[in-house]
């Protein structure tokens, strides 16, 4: 991964919400992260994980209890939102209902004191960018949800912010429109070259759109990496569990060699697995294997795991096989459907499982 210049850096940021008569809530706990220039960076996590709080601290709507927020190396944490060259696309769009589409888009430039003709030119440019030229003089109440979304994007992009913050902007759209807007957002990010910080709880959205993802839980960032890193090499149980489906196998790390190791599973067999840095052997560990990284077949001596087929679920493009492992535990295998595999296994069959090389991953915890 090429390391670019950091556009936004959070340095040891904590945020505690104090409210009378209630326990204080630690929304962010010593968070540090660097977001690179021109990056599509996603904050991913379940609701209440602190992702929106971090976004609001970057926007300036809240101020950190502790720590700094740097914009190109300059601490912006104490600045009010109107003094930060950062714009936000709100979850509910927050378009001004008493203004037209064009007035909404031009608002930021107007507040920056730009001359009228420059504003008009930029508004036209933005309307073209989000393909809303014909809606220029409509009221925001007269356009659809998807169009409102585009106006909100155009409004936030019009002042050419250094960083664009997007707070679950697609959550109010229906499935088809959401897919369209995902592609649209990627295009806009590519065309404008602006750093996007995107907040979502939708793991699929995060995987398809992001350059890098930070997975958050309970006010902390658990792992930062490319979608592939996060999916294939989860470092913690929460990350592995939150993103995609996963099989968890318990065992003990018996030997290590660089980034690989051998794990003796509780169920008996020893398997090869990737290990995170600094993990010592002979500790109790959890190994994760994605369902699509295992192969199902007739039990042979070479089979790493053996078991009985408990259930078959057909999904059209692929089939899920739920296997009860010998020695306890369950394991799910996902296999793409084709002429050969179709109908070759029945519930109750004894089966053997193989794990693709280099796909089993030992978790840090």
């Amino acid at each position: 991964m090429v390391t670019g210049k950091a556009a936004i850096q959070a340095v040891g940021v904590s945020k505690v919400f104090q409210s009378a008569g209630q326990d204080s809530l630690k929304a962010l706990d010593d968070v540090s992260v660097a977001i690179r220039e021109n990056e599509f960076f996603t904050l991913l996590g379940p609701s209440g994980c602190g992702k929106t709080t971090l976004l609001r601290l970057i926007a300036g709507f809240d101020f950190p209890t502790d720590g700094d927020i740097l914009l190109y190396g300059e601490n912006i944490a104490p600045l009010p939102p109107y003094k930060r060259p950062v714009n936000t696309v709100f979850q509910s769009y927050a378009l001004f209902p008493h203004m037209t589409v064009a007035q909404n888009i031009g608002f930021g430039l107007e507040m920056l004191g730009k001359p009228r003709d420059e504003i008009n030119a930029r508004v036209s440019e933005m309307l073209a960018l989000v393909q809303m030229d014909s809606m220029r003089n409509r009221r925001t109440s007269q356009i659809s949800g998807g169009q409102q979304q585009r106006v909100a994007l155009a409004r936030a992009l019009a002042p050419k912010p250094k960083v664009l913050l997007l707070d679950e902007p697609l959550s109010a759209l229906d499935y088809k429109l959401r897919k369209e807007m995902q592609i649209e957002l990627k295009r806009l990010q590519h065309e404008t070259g602006i750093t996007f910080i995107f907040v979502t709880h939708d793991q699929e959205e995060a995987l398809t759109m992001s350059d890098r993802i930070a997975v958050m839980s309970k006010g902390r960032i658990l792992q930062v990496g490319s979608p592939r890193d996060i999916y294939d090499r989860p470092s913690e149980r929460f990350v592995a569990d939150f993103i995609g489906e996963t099989n968890f196998l318990e065992g003990a790390l018996v030997s290590t060699a660089k980034d690989k190791g051998k794990v003796k599973l509780v169920a008996g067999p020893v398997i090869d697995a990737m290990i995170p840095e600094g993990l010592k052997s002979s500790t109790k560990v959890t190994v994760v294997v994605r369902p699509e990284h295992a192969l199902i077949g007739k039990p042979t001596k070479a089979s790493v795991l053996k078991g009985v087929l408990g259930n078959i679920v057909y999904f059209g493009t692929d089939t899920h096989y739920h296997v009860k492992l010998e020695g306890g535990g369950e394991f799910t295998v996902r296999q793409q459907n084709n002429q050969i595999t179709n109908g070759s296994f029945m519930v109750g069959d004894k089966v053997g499982l193989a794990i693709s090389l280099g796909t089993a991953q030992v978790l840090r915890d």
């Binding site: 939102p81 109107y82 714009n87 936000t88 709100f90 927050a94 608002f107």
Partner: protein, 307 residues
């Protein structure tokens, strides 16, 4: 088929009749208590005045209406403008406008403060705002007197601190009347303002800040346009009773600061000129109507256009 339809229509007819019956008391009350007296007032304004008050019934005269705007010299019968009435009229409009403005300036931050509290605390604040309404208007006006009279609290404190050497004359001035009215009518401004602010989406305020609008710009470009219905409603609710105010100008303005309400009272009391009093009352109503029309037109314009 035919009979079924007949049943439906007869049921509908009964429904309509029942509705009329149910609303009859209200309609009766409106007719008796509002339109009736209004008609009487209109009638009185076109009668000849009686020698000791009252009117001479069925002797029609234009004198009442004539005297609203004009006066006849008692010696040579020359006609001139009724300066005194016009001064009172102008003072009433001016003081009512100032009162509305003062109530808006005081009420706007108050309503904003309440609307931005926690939900359960808003009720407490709203409750506090309405407390003055529990007290009699006279008592409240006396309380204002206690504050601003020459020996009152404000002057005593200022004298005690050595800020002034002689008490500031506040009683019996326009200022006193305006202050009294603003105090009395403030809740009528705060409540409609609060109800529009409560409905306002405060994320729009955040969006404004995000788009480089400072505090003043957010107020001017976002909050005020969004709560405009509340501003208009509150202004109407304060302006109308302020224009016809009677107790406050009488107590805080003494005999000196006459407003329309006092002028009308004077005609029915010492003036013994009931037709003039009636004509003045209708003039007051007409001004209120014009003010309302102006507001309504302005409101619909700002609702639809804005550039």
């Amino acid at each position: 088929m035919g009979s079924a339809q007949d049943i439906v229509t007869s049921e509908e007819r009964r429904d309509i009749r029942n509705r009329w019956l149910l609303s009859a008391p209200a309609l009766f009350l409106i007719a008796i208590a509002a339109i009736g007296p209004l008609f009487v007032v209109l009638l009185y304004s076109v009668m000849l005045k009686g020698d000791y008050g009252d009117v001479k019934f069925w002797s029609f005269s234009r004198d009442g209406w004539f005297e609203v705007f004009f006066q006849k010299d008692i010696f040579d019968d020359t006609v001139s403008w009724a300066d005194a009435h016009i001064i009172v009229l102008w003072r009433s409009i001016r003081l009512a406008s100032y009162t509305t403005l003062l109530a808006l300036v005081l009420g706007f931050p108050t309503a904003y403060f309440i609307a931005t509290r926690d939900e359960h605390r808003r009720d407490v604040w709203l409750f506090l705002i309405t407390i003055p309404f529990w007290t009699n208007l006279l008592i409240r006006t006396f309380a204002i007197q206690e504050l601003i009279r020459n020996e009152g609290l404000v002057n005593s404190v200022l004298l005690g601190l050595g800020v002034i050497s002689t008490p500031i004359q506040m009683m019996y001035t326009d200022f006193a009347v305006m202050l009294g009215m603003a105090y009395v009518f403030l809740p009528l401004m705060v409540l409609p303002l609060y109800s529009s602010m409560e409905k306002m989406d405060f994320r729009l305020v955040e969006a404004g800040y995000d788009l480089y609008a400072g505090r003043f710009q957010v107020l001017r470009k976002i909050i005020i346009p969004l709560v405009k219905p509340g501003i208009i409603a509150g202004s109407i609710l304060v302006f109308i009773p302020a224009l016809g105010s009677y107790v406050t100008p009488r107590m805080l303005g003494g005999g000196k600061i006459l407003m329309l309400g006092n002028l009308i009272d004077l005609q029915f009391d010492q003036g013994r000129n009931w037709p003039l009093g009636a004509a003045l009352s209708i003039t007051l109503m007409a001004i209120v109507m014009v003010a309302l029309l102006f507001y309504v037109r302005n409101a619909s314009k700002s609702g639809a256009g804005h550039g």
